[in-house]
Amino acid sequence: MSARQPGAAKHSQAMFFQQRAGDKVRNPVLQQALQKARPLFVGKRAKGVAALAEDGLDGERLRDACAEIRHRALADLDVWLTLFEERALATGAEVLWARDGEEAAALVVALARQHGVRKVVKSKSMLSEEMHLNAALEAAGIQPVETDLGEYIVQLAGETPSHIIAPAVHKTLGEVEALFAENHGRPQKSRNSADIPEMTREARGVLREHFLSAEMGVSGANFLIAESGTAALVTNEGNGRMVTTLPPLHVVVTGIEKVIPTLEDFATLMRMLPRSATGQSISNYVSLLTGTRRSGEHDGPQKTVFILVDNGRADLLGSDYQDMLRCIRCGACMNHCPVYFSLGGHAYGWVYPGPMGSVLTPLYTGIENALDLPQATTGCNQCGSVCPVRIPLPKLMHRLRETQVERGLRPLGEGLAFKAWGWLARQPRLYRLFSRIAARYLGWLSDPAPDGSRGGRRIRIFGLAPGWTVGRDLPVPPGPTFHERYAARKRV
């Protein structure tokens, strides 16, 4: 399934994960931004989900219901897409299909040129990152403007989003101020958090001009609703509404897996999506967009085009990884991931970071092109336990690791080491002897205790696997081995 997307692999930096991870751990500015954000994300979701009980709603039952809705859509995806397409066409929208990101971007560019477009305003779309849409538009002499504040900051910095719902979470206030000063043509000021409203207002003014002058709006869709041929868009800033109300042409780019059957299903999902993402009971703007400007209406686009993008998704149907297609892009998995918050999103090297990215990147860009990502997990299952559609993320990462072994993609030494350990573990007496010696050896490696004797609690340099003690130390095993203690207790 992986060899078919050379376009996606071309832009992936996922093979440089280890090197990038090291850089990120050593970047104090990034670490400061991440440490600030982490407790906010976790606390807000916990509060939002706990509030469900006030209305007699069981969060676990809601997760079941959401997973079931997404599963129903995927089990008959051909049927639901057929119904969606028929009904969208009946509302006067156009529906185009694209095999991969490159093809989808070329369609957007072609539509823009056909309609004399010079400027495109975009609301947040991670799929448009898969498409490298901004680069394709710029190459055609068309100006793309990201209008989500976080995406705008990231675009000014010439970067990519580091989080799927908080694209600029890696940026500190000082970095944002420097970007605004440079790009808005004013001197840089000294800023503290009390200035954030003023800075937001400044960006509002700049972006308002773009909303009013763009000839085309590009948005994603959180869901496609089959019963009415509708695109559902969930935003807080109102930029999604601007992009889909003001320009005469609206293009919706969305993955083929995003369809759900009914408005009632949408209402159920909306009880979990904002809570999982930001802890909100509902996002500020939930827009259901159907067709184009009606006769007699004074605003809204005159033309709406859906571009339904495959880019590797269809191949996951019926595979070991179909569950991943349930994803509703809330970001809860990364918000609760110890690996994500040690590194930030850019270390992952492609569009999607965190646990969902560690599954999607190998699947969409080639397993052999993202070997480290499914290994970059502590197996703690915090992601799986908060996922609103119950995607078993650790299990999928585990399956990807198995596939790496099956396809001979792991280093030779790793296989030999596991074979040796496997043999040793089947020889109980030898194993006990070995673990006793190993525990004593590790104790001997430790740094000196305060009185200068051996017997400290930490190992700072571990020569056998030096990578383990770069950027952290290793605890010393505390005294006798499990077998020694067990034997001692039995004697009592």
Partner: protein, 264 residues
């Protein structure tokens, strides 16, 4: 993208309009071919998944496309509800819940007895906030006597410079303290979007418990189809994109004031 390729998003584009190419037309026509290929791949994936599920559950195949389509249409007709919130739904309790939830989302809420006194209530609130007595309004509100209350209003789509937008609402949802606005020639979507201040006049009789009840109402009046835009609005626009600090007034209104009308 390398820093050297960085595009300035704040400077105007002076380049000519890019002209459509022959390739563009071809590409758009070829999207049809992509459609068939993708649909074939989806069909194969769905069949493979059904085979796996069937083997696990020991059941027969899930049927051909036509029978699965019939089942999907039956699901659309049945529209089963998910888990529903439980809260007091008597009229006065709905009002109390709506007010509490809307205020928690940073809207302000007032209650007046009569629709006819809405212009005076709007004028008084605008004056108290130090805002101009000038607004763009939905056509459905054009019958009210705004001039006597000292307000200068125009019923049309909103422009960038309009300081205040006044709308009705298709209905409101008490579960979350949310307004639902439906677009139509009489109710342009831009009025609740472009002005910095959005005021909504909502008859208390239009308060519903949930989003599902709102959808049932939309279907009942729409004769099947949906309006171009259904916008659920929950307070002023907001962002947290700079250091996760919540700021009200991102791109849409900075303040939302809801006036509940007792009599209509």
């Amino acid at each position: 993208m390398k820093a050297s390729e960085k595009v300035s998003v704040t400077t105007a584009v002076n380049s000519p309009v890019p002209a459509p190419t022959a390739e563009d037309a071809q590409r758009l026509a070829a999207a049809r071919g992509a459609r068939d290929e993708i649909r074939q791949r989806i069909g194969a994936g769905v069949a493979a998944a059904a085979a796996v599920a069937g083997a696990t559950a020991g059941t027969k195949s899930r049927g051909d496309f036509a029978s699965r389509r019939a089942a999907a249409e039956a699901y659309l007709a049945a529209r089963p509800l998910g888990p529903q919130p439980q809260f007091a739904a008597a009229p006065e309790a709905l009002v109390a819940r709506f007010v509490a939830k809307a205020e928690s989302l940073a809207s302000s809420v007032a209650r007046i007895a009569q629709r006819a006194s809405a212009p005076a209530a709007v004028a008084a609130w605008l004056q108290a906030q130090g805002l101009p007595l000038q607004a763009v309004i939905s056509g459905e509100l054009a019958d009210l006597d705004w001039a006597s209350a000292g307000l200068s209003v125009a019923a049309r789509a909103a422009a960038d410079a309009d300081p205040v937008g006044i709308t009705g609402a298709f209905c409101a949802v008490a579960e979350t303290g949310t307004l639902l606005l439906a677009s139509s020639p009489q109710t342009p979507a831009s009025i609740s979007l472009l002005p910095e201040t959005h005021i909504a006049l909502v008859p208390e009789s239009r308060l519903l418990a949930t989003m599902e009840q709102a959808f049932a109402q939309v279907r009942a009046v729409g004769g099947g189809g949906l309006p171009r835009a259904l916008n659920f609005i929950s307070g002023p626009s907001r962002t947290g994109d700079i250091e996760q600090t919540i700021v009200l007034g991102a791109h849409g209104p900075c303040r939302v004031h809801i006036i509940l009308l007792g009599d209509s």
